[in-house]
């Protein structure tokens, strides 16, 4: 948010047009709303006209026939009343359209988020992704709700009044026309200046909030290191800058918003009265005409003021829209799959000379080759950053790779359909992420093909059934706040059940037991062993003790496999594995 782009007029137009295309599915509703708007504008224009007739044809000449006056009054009341109803419907219609447009934008953004590759999530803080789909779209809402309708209304009202004025007195209408360019000049300068001022203010505000959020989250550290004064000073500095930016904004608004529009109002009134005054020296003038013109001028400035006040919202909405569109246009998509009918039946995995880099500069995997036979377990061990997780990331297709290939049952993983991969590969993460919902919904996820029995069988299989059943609501027990009411071991077992329920052919364990204390781990090991039976397993293990029965252990170091073999073979080699093993077990040679 720090580097908000300043837009050229052209870029703004492009964004606006793209936003407007979202109105397409609501063509009919927009048409109805506009028609209603035009009707209300016509009503607004006719009102003063009726009064003019009343003034000129009755009051001024003292003609008070009941019938025509009654007709006038009834017509006036009728128009007012209809106008009130129509404008209510019209306002709601615009709101409804706006809300639906925003909903579509939101769904588009959310859908897009799901199509993005992991790379995007690595580089973009979660908070800002959430903002794209929610807060930014919300900011655009104002554009549709208040800005566009008030712009359109102002436009119609101005045009309608001019038509009426021209009908009454073309020459005078021409004079009044002079104020329009004045208004446009003001709008032009206001937008030009405010885009800078406003942007600075937003920037300072986001800096201020960032500083505040960081100060609050890290306050314990700030205090422990006695840096309160420094943080206080830094905060004050930004607070002061923000204040200055706000003052600039207040100054600009005071110069160019309401006060200047009021000034232009005076220009119009002075023009009008001077014209009438000078004309009155030679010809006689109907008082009603003066009334109509003055009323129009008064009314004329209401929408103008509204438009001026909403220019800031307009600017803000465009900035937000540009951010949403940047997300929608983002090209770091998930790796593509060729949608073939290939099936994974055995679970034979082969890595063939895979080299991979996240950023295109540093290779995190270098020439990785290994095979895992169906039903066997291969364990990946190594130092943090050795490339263990990257191997899993590639196998799970979280990231695209260019060099080498990964084959399952002899076919490249790029050639399996997405569905097939998701069905046959089961991943258990280090952090057993639980969703808001119930225990059952966390095991089943959205897979409606799973019966209640399947869910229970899965829970039983990983031996978490007893625990679940003793909960007050059993499987329907609510899971809140990421499952913080459950212990990490229980959470992990539920995540196991979730994976087992899909009955994958290949099991991928990404440090599945790392966040669990040693005692719980013993219980979990039992479940894990059961799960691995009959499945090809690739496991990353933090604790070497958990993978000693693996058929093959790959020791990674800086992206290369430097040792491979089973537990005994590796110990005999007395290499890195041996050392890690000794260390972990606290054995001093």
């Amino acid at each position: 948010m720090n580097n908000q782009p300043t837009f050229s007029n052209k870029a703004q137009t492009t964004i606006l047009i793209r936003l407007l295309t979202y109105l397409k599915p609501h063509k009919k509703a927009v048409f109805v709303a506009l028609a209603l708007l035009i009707l209300t504008v016509i009503g607004d224009i006719i009102g003063p006209f009726l009064i003019k007739i009343f003034l000129d044809e009755h009051v001024a000449i003292g003609n008070f026939d009941t019938k025509p006056i009654l007709t006038l009054a009834v017509t006036y009341i009728f128009i007012q009343f209809i106008n009130v109803i129509l404008s209510y419907i019209q306002l709601i219609k615009f709101q409804e359209i706006a809300l639906k447009v925003i909903q579509q934008l939101r769904i588009d953004a959310f859908t897009k988020i799901h199509r993005l590759g992991m790379r995007y999530f690595d580089n973009t803080p979660a908070g800002s992704i959430v903002s794209r789909a929610t807060n930014d779209t919300e900011a655009i809402k104002d554009l549709f709700v208040s800005v566009l309708s008030s712009f359109v209304q102002a436009g119609f009202l101005i045009i309608g009044m001019y038509i009426a004025m021209f009908l009454l007195n073309p020459l005078l209408a021409m004079f009044v026309l002079i104020v329009l360019p004045l208004i446009f000049i003001v709008i032009y300068y206001y937008r030009k200046l405010s885009s800078v001022v406003y942007l600075t203010m937003r920037e300072k505000l986001s800096e201020l909030n960032a500083k505040l959020a960081e100060g609050l989250s890290g306050m314990v550290i700030v205090q422990a290191f006695r840096q309160e004064q420094r943080f206080h000073d830094e905060f004050n500095e930004i607070n002061q800058q923000h204040y200055r930016a706000m003052m600039d904004n207040t100054k600009l608004n005071s110069t160019l918003l309401r006060p200047v529009i009021d000034l232009i109002y005076f220009v119009a009134i002075i023009l009008l009265l001077t014209y009438f005054g000078i004309t009155s020296f030679s010809t006689s003038i109907e008082v009603g005409v003066i009334y109509v013109f003055i009323t129009y001028i008064n009314r004329f400035f209401e929408p103008i003021n509204q438009v001026m006040e909403r220019l800031a919202i307009f600017q803000q909405a465009l900035v937000a829209a540009s951010r949403v569109f940047t997300l929608l246009d983002h090209e770091e998509l998930e790796p593509r799959q060729q949608e073939t009918n290939a099936h994974i039946s055995n679970g034979f995995i082969e890595f063939k000379q895979v080299t991979f880099s996240y950023d295109g500069k540093v290779d995190v995997l270098k020439d990785i080759s290994f095979t895992v036979k169906p039903g066997e377990t291969v364990a990946l061990v190594g130092h943090t950053g050795s490339g263990k997780s990257s191997i899993i990331n590639l196998l799970m297709r979280f990231y695209e790779f260019e060099q080498g290939d990964i084959l399952i049952d002899g076919t490249s993983i790029k050639s399996y359909s997405k569905n097939e991969l998701r069905k046959k590969l089961g991943l258990v993460l280090q952090d057993p992420f639980l969703f808001y919902g119930t225990i059952e919904s966390n095991i089943r996820l959205h897979d409606q093909s799973l019966t209640d029995e399947d869910v229970r069988a899965a829970a039983k299989f990983v031996q978490v059934n007893q625990y679940i059943e003793q909960l007050p609501n059993g499987y329907q027990q609510n899971v809140t706040e990421r499952g913080s009411t459950l212990s990490s071991g229980q959470r992990q077992l539920i995540a196991f059940a979730r994976t087992i329920a899909t009955n994958p052919k290949i099991l991928v364990l990404d440090e599945a037991t790392a966040s669990i204390d040693t005692e719980t781990e013993v219980a979990i090991q039992g479940s894990l062993e059961k799960m691995r039976k009959g499945r090809t397993t690739i496991a990353i293990a933090h604790r070497l003790s958990t993978i000693q029965d693996a058929e093959q252990i790959l020791v990674l170091h800086q992206g290369k496999i430097i040792e491979r073999g089973n537990h005994q073979q590796l110990l005999v080699q007395k290499g890195l594995y041996h050392k890690m093993y000794l260390l972990q077990n606290g054995i001093v040679e």
Partner: protein, 586 residues
């Protein structure tokens, strides 16, 4: 209205601005009355064909002067009043932040950062509204509205004024009512929106799980149904929101009609001129805003007052622990002695710590082990004086810890917390936290001891790499090691590693422990850990269980004891010794 009184301190501070601003507003309100009058006169003169060029010039000159004068006044009162409200926001923010820096860690444990942020942003802007728009609406509804009504009544016709005003109170009433209704429905809509926000947040945090299980479509469906609810709830808001404009124009319309009908009658009766009627109509138009303002005022005040109460409540949170009057102004040095009988967290029943007795000589290393919740961190917190009110004493050097000035006591500690927190700035600034201008060599030296130097050099910009949300993402172990380097730079009398090696792998942990030992031979270190390897070499190990010391001694002593420690030790070596037994025997 009470809230104005509560903000008295501010209005007094800015009294010059407000007095001048309000005087200007008064002038604006009075000048506002002139144009309709002038329009009325000119129309009457035109109608009666009395208008002369001289009088036209006179009136127009007055209008030009009024226009320019009003522009200036309008500009300056805004600057003064809105400017002051900006100042109020700034001042409150500063006060709040300053107070935040003084609150104890226990405060931060019980409050969520998000809530505190909301107070510092939303609540402050609601209060700012009071000082800006609030003052304006108050003044406008009373003064401007009053002047207009007076002008109508005294310069035109008081009877017509009364008649035309009949519908006006309904406007203030209905808009105020709508405002309340709107506020309520808005709350519901906001809740739906925040559900949507939570859902999005959850989907992004759980993106790997969703991808793994191929549940994108279903997740999008769920999002759609939530977004439907947002639309629905917002339509409820729209239904009220859209009532404002039509209601206002209805009431104003009725008022206009009444004034025209009765005005016409008065003209016929000869008690009024046509110019008067048009002027009167223009005045009516001027009344719309003050009426609206009156409706708005209550909502602004209501919201702002609730916000100000919340801010005041925050500012009223006391700083937990204060220095004693005769506190020692000297950094504690020396042995540490715990003679603690009992400590219970405020508001809780069960003791968090019981019978903690041990002594740690200067330069020694203390290892504290125990399960989560066994009281390890609590013990450290008492030592750092984050909590008081325990039964017993804690000595640091020759005095009890509460005898020292808090500032000086803190100086003695280099604390590395369990949940490492780094600031979103460069790695260098994170390590050089205590002194941003420290020499590069010292920072690098600390980084080397914490075994993070090599890692840092591998980052794109080395020590200048930005960490956190906007920079590179570090692994948990890297963050922990940077936290350690940050504490080491202090060269503290007492270094506390509160389970801060948990995400570091065994090899690095070993290396860090070794270099710490070498580096800090004359300074005291306390390490808490799940993993026994981290504290094995400590001079004293205490095993905590349910808040009390169950075992105490060196590694060898504890191993020989074959108690809890021995059990834990065995457990951590479990499978290998059982399954492949003999293979690893030394």
């Amino acid at each position: 209205m009470k809230v104005f009184f509560k903000l008295k301190w501010f209005f007094i501070e800015k009294k010059k601005e407000y007095i001048i601003g309000l005087i200007m507003l008064t002038f604006v309100a009075i000048l506002n009355l002139l144009p309709p009058k002038i329009i009325g006169y000119i129309i009457d003169e035109i109608a009666a064909k009395h208008l002369t060029p001289a009088s036209l010039v006179k009136w127009m000159t007055i209008l030009v002067l009024v226009a320019l004068f009003m522009y200036l006044l309008r500009f300056y009162w805004r600057l003064l009043i809105f400017g002051s409200s900006n100042y109020l926001a700034k001042t409150l923010r500063e006060k709040l932040f300053s107070h935040f820096t003084k609150l104890s860690p226990s405060f931060y444990q019980s409050r969520r950062v998000g809530d505190l942020m909301a107070h510092a942003t939303n609540d402050i802007s609601a209060v700012q509204q009071i000082a800006g728009v609030g003052i304006l609406t108050l003044f406008d509804s009373i003064a401007t509205g009053g002047f207009v009504i007076l002008a109508m009544a005294f310069t035109i016709d008081w009877r017509l004024t009364l008649i035309a005003l009949i519908p006006m109170p309904f406007m203030a009433l209905s808009t105020s009512y709508y405002g309340k209704l709107l506020h309520k429905r808005f709350g519901v809509a906001q809740a739906a929106f925040s559900d949507l926000n939570d859902k999005t947040q959850e989907s992004i945090s759980g993106i790997k799980v969703i991808k793994t299980f191929g549940q994108q479509k279903e997740d999008i469906e769920e999002f759609k149904s939530l977004s439907n609810s947002v639309v629905e709830k917002n339509m409820q808001v729209a239904k009220v929101d859209s009532l404002f404009d039509p209601t206002i124009s209805l009431i104003v319309g009725i008022s206009f009609l009444l004034s025209l009908a009765f005005g016409a009658k008065f003209i016929v009766d000869g008690t009024m001129t046509i110019g008067d009627l048009i002027a009167f109509n223009t005045y009516l138009g001027l009344l719309v805003w003050p009426m609206l303002a009156f409706g708005m005022l209550f909502n602004i005040l209501e919201r702002g007052s609730a916000s100000y109460d919340r801010i005041e409540e925050l500012l009223g949170v006391p700083m937990d622990i204060q220095d004693k009057p005769d506190a020692i102004d000297q950094q504690p040095k020396g042995d540490i002695r715990f003679e603690l009988e009992n400590f219970t967290f405020p508001g809780e029943q069960v003791s968090a710590l019981k019978h903690i007795h041990f002594e740690l000589k200067r330069g020694e290393t203390l290892g504290i082990v125990g399960k989560t919740g066994s009281g390890k961190t609590t013990l450290l917190k008492l030592l750092m004086r984050e909590y008081e009110g325990y039964d017993g004493t804690i000595h640091f050097g020759s005095h009890k810890i509460d005898a020292y000035k808090k500032e000086r006591l803190k100086e003695a500690f280099g604390y590395v917390p369990q949940d490492h927190f780094l600031f979103s700035t460069t790695i260098f600034s994170n390590i050089a936290f205590i002194n941003p201008t420290v020499e590069k060599e010292k920072v690098e030296r600390a980084a080397k001891i914490a075994h993070i130097h090599e890692d840092i050099l591998r980052f794109p910009d080395g020590y200048e790499t930005i960490v956190g949300e906007r920079g590179v993402s570090l692994s948990g172990g890297q963050k922990q090691r940077i936290s350690i380097a940050r504490a080491l730079l202090l060269n503290p009398e007492l270094l506390i590693l509160d389970d801060s090696l948990s995400a570091v792998d065994a090899k690095t942990e070993e290396a860090i422990i070794t270099s710490l030992k070498a580096e800090r031979q004359h300074a005291t270190t306390i390490i808490t850990s799940h993993r026994l390897s981290a504290i094995e070499h400590a001079d004293l190990i205490i095993v905590l269980h349910e808040g009390t010391i169950v075992e105490k001694g060196t590694h060898e002593e504890l191993m020989a004891k074959k108690g809890k420690y021995y059990e834990m030790y065995q457990l951590q070596q479990l499978e290998k010794l059982v399954e492949k037994g003999g293979y690893c025997d030394e």
